[in-house]
């Protein structure tokens, strides 16, 4: 029943959800980043290099790639501390493009079994053979992806309920007011950036090993704007929001033949319309409160 085609869609939803959650986290803290694809890409390359060229075990490569992404994100967070709003967004865009272009120049090849393996600039990085070498089926890898996704979701739900999560939302609502409550935004902005970068990184390494071939062009602005759009459509009130956005795009629009070739027209239009009528998405904060109130009444009855 679950043939490879369906499984591929499901795994794509899982991996893209990670970068969507990454953009979502920053949106919640009030920062609009057009550049999460940079961390997705850094981790994709780093993780793939670790397994393919250095022979590292997968879990180590995953942590390595994501950690590197998180670090880079923290660095960018530090550099962009003094700028906000539009300036910040354009800066993230500029950074992401710098990363993408730098990947065109990245050549690092090693000879393995008589063949040259490794990233080769514009030619990309192919033969990321980990799943073949270890006989992992599509189903097993999909489960791995969702295992990671579940861990991230649990983490984010806990974060949402914690004081740190509340501080993030306060920052997103009114940074000056947050300061007036005795909190210095700096450490929280950087923390959010690092966590978001790490989560995008998880998606990146998983992606590289799933597709077995990556090239710089993949990590472009299109990917970045999509990650942002998922949260904006699905809703910024809950982690389910970006997941819904991803499901609508990949699960619905991309899979159904009718939309073939018109996906962007529909998706782009959808974002624009949502921003007019429901600027914080379907499941925005107000709606989430309402759902919780209804649920509470149900359970008490």
């Amino acid at each position: 029943m679950l043939n490879d085609y369906v499984l591929t869609i499901i795994s794509n939803i899982g991996m893209i959800s990670l970068i969507a959650l990454s953009a979502y986290l920053l949106l919640v803290t009030g920062q609009i980043s057009f550049g999460q694809q940079a961390f997705f890409g850094i981790s994709a390359y780093a993780g793939a290099i670790a397994t393919t060229l250095w022979g590292w075990p997968f879990w180590l490569a995953l942590i390595f790639g994501s950690g590197l992404a998180g670090l880079a994100a923290g660095l960018i967070g530090l550099l962009t501390l003094r700028i906000s709003g539009m300036y910040f967004s354009i800066a993230t865009l500029a950074f992401a493009e710098m990363i993408r272009l730098s990947l065109f120049k990245l050549t690092y090849q090693i000879e393995i079994d008589g063949e040259l393996v490794g990233p080769n600039g514009a030619e990309g990085f192919g033969e990321i053979r980990w799943i073949f070498d270890h006989d992992i089926s599509v189903m097993e890898y999909t489960l791995l992806i969702y295992g990671v996704l579940m861990l991230v979701l649990v983490g984010m739900v806990l974060l949402e309920r914690s004081r740190l999560g509340m501080i993030f939302r306060m920052l997103g609502s009114d940074a000056l007011l947050t300061r007036a409550q005795g909190l210095n935004p700096v450490r929280y902005k950087i923390t959010a950036a690092v966590i978001a970068g790490f989560i995008a990184g998880l998606g990146g390494t998983l992606y590289a090993h799933s597709f077995t071939y990556i090239e710089p062009q993949i990590f472009n602005v299109m990917l970045g704007v999509h990650s942002l759009a998922y949260g904006l459509i699905g809703g910024l009130g809950t982690v389910l929001g970006p997941l819904i956005g991803v499901a609508i795009d990949i699960g619905f629009l991309e899979s159904i033949r009718i939309f073939q070739g018109y996906r962007m027209i529909v998706f782009g239009g959808l974002v624009a319309v949502m921003l007019i009528f429901m600027p914080r998405g379907i499941l925005d904060e107000a709606r989430v409160y309402w759902i919780k109130a209804v649920a509470r009444r149900w359970f008490n009855a």
Binding site: R161, S162, R163, M166, R169, L176, L177, A180, G182, L183
Partner: protein, 247 residues
């Protein structure tokens, strides 16, 4: 308690404050008044760390806090409300008040712990008590954006005093309110907020000022023109002139 010495602030070509000296006595409600554009808001912003003065010093309980940022001044014990009301509009009333209490904890690991959920959490009790004082207990679960103006002001006031600050700064607490609403706010301040606390109220509505303040300071064109008890100050010719203009 709070002392300003020779504080000046210039914005581009506009001299907003010029060599202002004033002191705010502890345990009483002081008022800062003056016509529009006299520099009241600038003064308050400097006291609460929104920006630093160009010259001069600010001493809080004898400690020099000049140039502190807004989060630092709050941690020193100064809390405020805003002229055009700033609340976390997407959060509930209760959460708004709880938000004010977050930084009271040591912020390392505890930051990851859930915020006040269980009924016996001390912070929850403090927050509910604050809401009760401003009579917003029934609205605890309402999303702040849905509150009408007078209730929003009360929420802001609750949020400001829930930390039991040493100095509570209320910036135009009656702004935009009808005379009835103004007098409700005035009694709220006079009876429930002010006792045992040092407050600084910025206002240009005289009815609230005379109802609530025991000490007044008058600004005009960025300079202090009078300071003292209300009866005294309001009689002075330069004060009357500032408000009514020269004949």
């Amino acid at each position: 308690m709070l002392e300003l010495r020779s504080v000046s602030k210039v914005f581009g070509e506009l001299s907003a404050l010029h060599q202002v000296d004033l002191s705010i006595p502890p345990g009483r409600v002081s008022g800062l008044i003056g016509p529009n554009g006299s520099g009241k808001t600038t003064l308050v912003n400097i006291i609460t760390g929104i920006y630093a003065p160009d010259t001069g010093k600010i001493l809080f309980n004898g400690v020099d806090i000049t140039g502190s940022t807004a989060d630092q001044t709050t941690r020193f014990g100064i809390a405020r409300t805003f002229q055009n009301i700033r609340i976390f509009s997407r959060m509930t009333v209760l959460e708004n008040v709880l938000a004010a209490l977050i930084s009271l904890n040591d912020q390392s690991w505890r930051i990851l712990r859930g915020y006040a959920k269980s009924a016996d959490d001390p912070q929850l009790k403090i927050a509910l008590k604050a809401l009760e004082t401003v009579e917003l207990l029934n609205e605890a679960g309402v999303v702040a954006a849905e509150l009408p103006l007078p209730l929003r002001r009360r929420l802001e006031i609750a949020r400001a005093f829930v930390r039991d600050p040493e100095l509570l700064v209320l910036d135009e607490p009656a702004g935009g309110m009808t005379p009835t609403e103004t007098s409700t706010i005035a009694s709220l301040i006079r009876e429930r907020i002010a006792p045992g606390r040092t407050c600084l109220v910025i206002e240009h509505k005289m009815d609230l000022i005379s109802d609530v303040c025991q000490h007044l300071c008058v600004l005009n064109h960025g300079e202090k023109i009078a300071e003292g008890s209300p009866g005294n100050v309001l009689e002075q010719p330069q004060v009357i002139e500032a408000y009514l203009g020269r004949d």
